[in-house]
Symmetry: C2
Subunit: 305 residues, 2 copies
């Protein structure tokens, strides 16, 4: 058994699924859970995600040797502030936030040097359409990537323990620099979400939008699926990773300008070449994704915590 007692701060899909996976593997003794909302805590207990609910972060982490912060990124500032006052001396802490730079900044602002050393930031890239305790499953992370972004303060053996913990869930662990994680996710997740919201907005502004949308078919549906993601989560991700997203937005705008020029000049050869290159890259990406054992994914995938 890796951990004596797991404290979940946030008992929804992400936290609950980790608890189920570790329990199934016998890697955790007791699971105590705290959520801001009472009904979420009680649902988590009723569903067997946690052994008992706690009425405060302090009560949840008392006696815990592992703390998993699985709240929306926006809430982590307050959570880390409270943790600083009640974290047991031997407890390891990790999180599931979609943006690492901002989380590490908040950790540095709130945690003591000793606490910071035991905080190993992470980001499980997994999700489902539904969220909340009811959506939690023991195999949510199986075959999915979990990116750990250790900080210089971390001790190698603590990072190794968090990595082993995630390996027990069947996830594929990667390590990235904090800034590099935010750069990569801005490109593969944050930019596409922003672009999808903008696409829907562009059409919604058309005078004949109601009619236009009647003819939206599969391509449009797939393309805009991520525009159904939670607006508050994505607002927070955009604010927390603003600089990287702005850079990627500018790259994307430059591509659209370049494509617009080819179209303007009706350069069929260039357009075909451009589409051909993009298709080749995208098609090549697929077998890779399969080989990586990525589960079938949903619009809620990487919708951000």
């Amino acid at each position: 058994m890796m951990f004596r007692r797991l404290a979940l701060i946030g008992t929804g899909l992400i936290g609950g699924s980790l608890a189920l996976a570790l329990r199934e593997r016998g890697e955790v003794g007791e699971v105590v859970g705290y959520s801001r909302r009472l009904d979420t805590r009680l649902a988590a207990e009723r569903l067997g995600l946690i052994d008992r609910p706690a009425d405060s972060i302090a009560e949840a982490v008392a006696g815990a040797d592992l703390v998993f912060v699985a709240t929306p990124v926006k809430a982590m500032d307050a959570v880390l502030g409270e943790l600083a006052a009640c974290l047991p001396g031997d407890a390891l802490v990790t999180d599931g936030g979609s943006v690492k730079g901002a989380v590490v900044e908040r950790a540095r602002a709130h945690l003591s040097a000793g606490q910071l050393a035991r905080f190993v930031p992470g980001h499980p890239i997994a999700g489902r359409e539904r969220s909340g305790p009811e959506a939690a499953t023991a195999d949510l992370y199986r075959g999915h990537r979990v990116i750990l972004t250790p900080i210089e303060e971390n001790r190698a053996e603590d990072v190794a323990r968090i990595e082993a913990m995630w390996q027990a869930t069947g996830a594929r662990i990667e390590r990235l620099e904090v800034a590099h994680h935010d750069h990569v996710l801005a490109a593969t997740s944050h930019l596409p979400h922003a672009a999808a919201y903008a696409m829907v907005s562009a059409l919604a502004r058309l005078a004949e939008r109601y009619e236009v949308f009647r003819y939206a078919a599969g391509g449009f549906r797939d393309f805009t699926r991520i525009a159904s993601s939670d607006p508050v989560m994505w607002r927070d991700i955009c604010l927390d990773n603003r600089d990287e997203i702005l850079v990627m937005l500018d790259h994307y705008r430059a591509e659209l300008d370049c494509l617009r020029d080819m179209l303007e000049s009706a350069d069929g050869e260039k357009i075909e070449h451009y589409f051909h290159e993009a298709k080749a890259v995208r098609d090549a990406l697929y077998p890779v994704a399969q080989a990586n054992g990525a589960n079938p994914v949903s619009e809620a995938d990487e919708t951000g915590r």
Copy 2:
């Protein structure tokens, strides 16, 4: 039986599926098919999509009272040119092209006044991952939209016959002005395809693209699915509907600029509102799409003929 003999110009997914659907409903007597490639014609015969292959367009349409042009839009110029020389006097003609303005222009350039009057342009919005005769099915059009774009030269009863023909396949028929069709499709299909190709290209240009793509998850996969569409078809659609696509591209770029400004000024309230509005529109679109009985769709949906 609606038609004595159907001539398919193009015996792939789109043409073959129409033939199967009409035959299943007993709405067509004989089906003769021509494709530029001999193996496509022979495959269509072997698969029972057509009763016999023809070695030329002239041979295919001889004695036909319905001609369905189901070739890529680019080929339609040559096809319409040949049809002008061999079209039986009583034959109705329709097509499956993704862009109607350019097709009608070519029809006007090639067909006689009498032939033009019997050409009722159309666009079935349906497709599959796979194409070619092997992919044809009798129910491809069931529950999908078929947009007819009658021209002023058409006689009401001829348009009604083409409409009844498509109704026999289980499709939901709409009528739009030619220019309006191209405007609507530029918004719901052509722009998203261009934007998806540009998104893949933007990431592919990053120095660390190989690493970036390793972290691409479900959101990115859905968002870029249509970037796997056929580059030649999409080159032709872009060229044929250039003006409308340019207008939509500018709308889209304006949205991205607007989102970029909110992000630049870190205006969380505006960003949340923007995302919220887009999500509301997109979520509302779904039940509509379901009520319309649209089949589950694929990356090849509306990839253009």
